[in-house]
């Protein structure tokens, strides 16, 4: 089981590394977003409770989140491609536990997302975000959790889809808003009431908190912070629900209807 998951996840990583433009795009795009949007908004950023935090600092966790979202979208698109190009049918007829198919895909996609996030994390000290070692470990843990959350969500959505163009629609009206309303671009606390409500039920808001707070608080403070603990619980629940949904979808086999319903 572990070998199967490893082999399937390894395949994702090999395929990714063999596409240099995908590697460049996945790091370059968030970096440009961060530099351009961050620099542009910096002069106007003045959020209550965040005194002393520049917009470049505020936006970095948001950009890391965007990177994970896009990594997950790419991973989901490969599910559709695998089905379309025929690779998937070979995996489905193999005597492989269906959970392993999900974990292999999701594990590979999440590993890629975490790897890319770590590269982008190198930018943090340059804008004055220097977490301690404990904070760094917590950030890494947050990366793993949110990357898995995003890739399993993408998996559950993309499984069974036949066209990548259909998935683009889902991406724009469902996945992108999850990120837009996560507090990545603007703080949750100052949002108007209806928006605040949407943002607070959005699991990505909580995953983002897991990434952002360790930059500003020590592990000791975090352990006593109810908002941080709540974020941890919500993110874990999000991951569990999406994982369960994905496995359920993979296990389902198209079934014929009762014979008497067909015309003779």
């Amino acid at each position: 089981m572990i070998r199967i998951v490893g082999a399937l996840a390894g395949r994702e990583i090999i395929r990714f590394l063999r596409q240099p433009n995908r590697v460049a795009g996945s790091i370059g795009q968030p970096l440009l977003f961060w530099l351009f949007l961050g620099s542009g908004f910096s002069p106007t950023f003045d959020a209550p409770g965040l005194e002393g935090v520049t917009y470049m600092q505020y936006f970095l966790p948001g950009v890391l989140m965007m990177l994970m979202l896009f990594a997950s979208i790419f991973s989901s698109i490969t599910i559709i491609e695998d089905r379309d190009q025929g690779f998937l049918q070979g995996v489905l007829v193999a005597p492989v536990p269906r959970v392993a198919i999900v974990l292999g895909k999701v594990g590979g996609g999440a590993a890629l997302a975490v790897g890319q996030s770590l590269i982008l994390l190198v930018a943090a000290p340059f804008v004055g975000l220097v977490p301690g070692w404990g904070g760094l470990a917590l950030i890494l843990g947050a990366f793993v959790l949110s990357a898995l959350g995003f890739t399993t969500l993408g998996f559950a959505v993309a499984w069974g889809m036949r066209s990548t163009s259909g998935f683009h629609a889902v991406m724009m009206v469902f996945l992108m808003p999850l990120w837009l309303l996560s507090g990545a671009l603007f703080p949750v606390a100052t949002a108007p009431g209806w928006l605040y409500a949407l943002m607070i039920v959005n699991p990505v808001t909580h995953a983002l908190r897991l990434v952002r707070l360790p930059f500003h608080m020590t592990p000791g403070e975090l352990a006593a912070d109810p908002a941080y603990l709540a974020a941890l619980a919500v993110t874990a629940a999000w991951l569990a629900v999406c994982l369960g949904l994905s496995v359920w979808r993979v296990r389902r086999v198209e079934t014929g209807v009762a014979p008497h319903r067909a015309p003779a």
């Binding site: 395949r11 395929r15 690779f87 998937l88 070979g90 007829v93 086999v253 198209e254 014979p259």
Partner: protein
């Protein structure tokens, strides 16, 4: 080796399409060591049947037993005995041949040692030696097919299922692939069930199953199937087929079948064709454009059994449209 019992599959309908039965009460037994070709026109239910046998579609009713294991109750045991070659390649084109083989071996739980030991036997018949580190998308179509088969051989399947495996191959690659398949089947004592709509591919099979409209119309050896059409047949091309059809039937007192513009007199014994040919020319010379004596091949058998031209998608049976897997 594989037994199908009362297999029925009805696709659920949608708002505008009623449910339709693609496979109807089909029973078939392929004993161990047999090479069986499943053939039939488009929409006959071949692809649906294939998807059921792979376990990617659960039928409405019926049982499938592979190597003694119930496909739906003990899927893993059945899958372990099974090797599948799909019509669309199930290899990762961005990986090398070796990486594909290694991944496949891992999916079937073979360790590194086993993989190394079996690599030789999986490849010796092929033209892949020296190309193990080449990416699959750089190989020709024929070689890519060989990767597919080599991959399956790694797990030493007892039953090999192939879905129109020669689709998209040129005639030379097609012949090479089939020849290798037949040799491997005998050498390694595999049971083979292969779908095909190319009747020439069935000539070398032990038995041929002909499907139409979800039913099994015939199941016999190629020789016995050919005998149904007789040793010889007379094919007459007419200027006005309608007219000659009636005239021939009357003057010869035989059943004349019509396929497009061709009129056929089937079921002739050896040597009967020549006498009949003379008679046709003597009585209908002016109405005949050409006339030939032929030894029936499987394509003629197919036309005889299904009553339609191969590949002709029109007709009532075509309503049960084939669903791509």
């Amino acid at each position: 080796m594989i037994t199908l019992q009362g297999l029925t599959h009805v696709y659920p309908g949608h708002r505008k399409t009623p449910p339709h039965a693609a496979v109807r009460d089909l029973s078939l037994h392929v004993p161990a060591g047999e090479f069986c070709v499943l053939t039939g026109p488009n929409g006959s239910g071949k692809s649906t049947l294939f998807r059921i046998l792979c376990g990617t579609l659960t039928p409405s009713a019926g049982r499938v037993e592979i190597a003694g294991a119930d496909l739906f109750r003990q899927p893993d045991a059945a899958r372990r005995a099974l090797g599948v070659v799909f019509q669309s390649p199930a290899v990762d084109k961005q990986l090398s041949v070796r990486e594909n083989l290694r991944l496949h071996a891992t999916l079937y739980g073979l360790g590194r040692g086993t993989l190394a030991a079996r690599l030789g036997e999986a490849l010796e018949w092929s033209d892949l030696e020296g190309r193990l580190d080449q990416r699959v998308d750089t190989l020709s179509g024929g070689l890519a097919r060989q990767v597919e088969l080599a991959k399956c051989l790694l797990t030493r399947p007892r039953l090999l299922l192939l879905d129109e495996p020669t689709t998209g191959l040129d005639p030379a690659s097609r012949m090479r692939f089939l020849k290798a398949l037949h040799t491997l089947q005998r050498q390694r004592d595999m049971t083979v069930l292969m779908t095909s709509h190319i009747f020439a591919e069935a000539e070398a099979a032990d038995r041929v199953a002909v499907m139409m409209g979800g039913h099994l119309l015939a199941l016999d050896s190629p020789g016995a199937l050919r005998d149904r059409v007789g040793r010889e047949m007379l094919v007459v091309e007419a200027e006005a087929p309608d007219h000659l059809h009636a005239a021939l039937a009357e003057s010869l007192g035989r059943v004349v079948t019509r396929h497009g513009d061709e009129l056929r007199l089937e079921g002739l014994g050896r040597g009967d064709g020549l006498a009949l040919l003379e008679q046709v020319l003597a009585e209908h010379r002016d109405a005949v454009r050409s006339v030939a004596i032929r030894r029936p091949d499987l394509e003629d058998v197919f036309v005889h059994i299904t009553g339609r031209d191969p590949g002709d998608a029109a007709g009532p049976a075509a309503e049960a449209a084939e669903v791509p897997s």
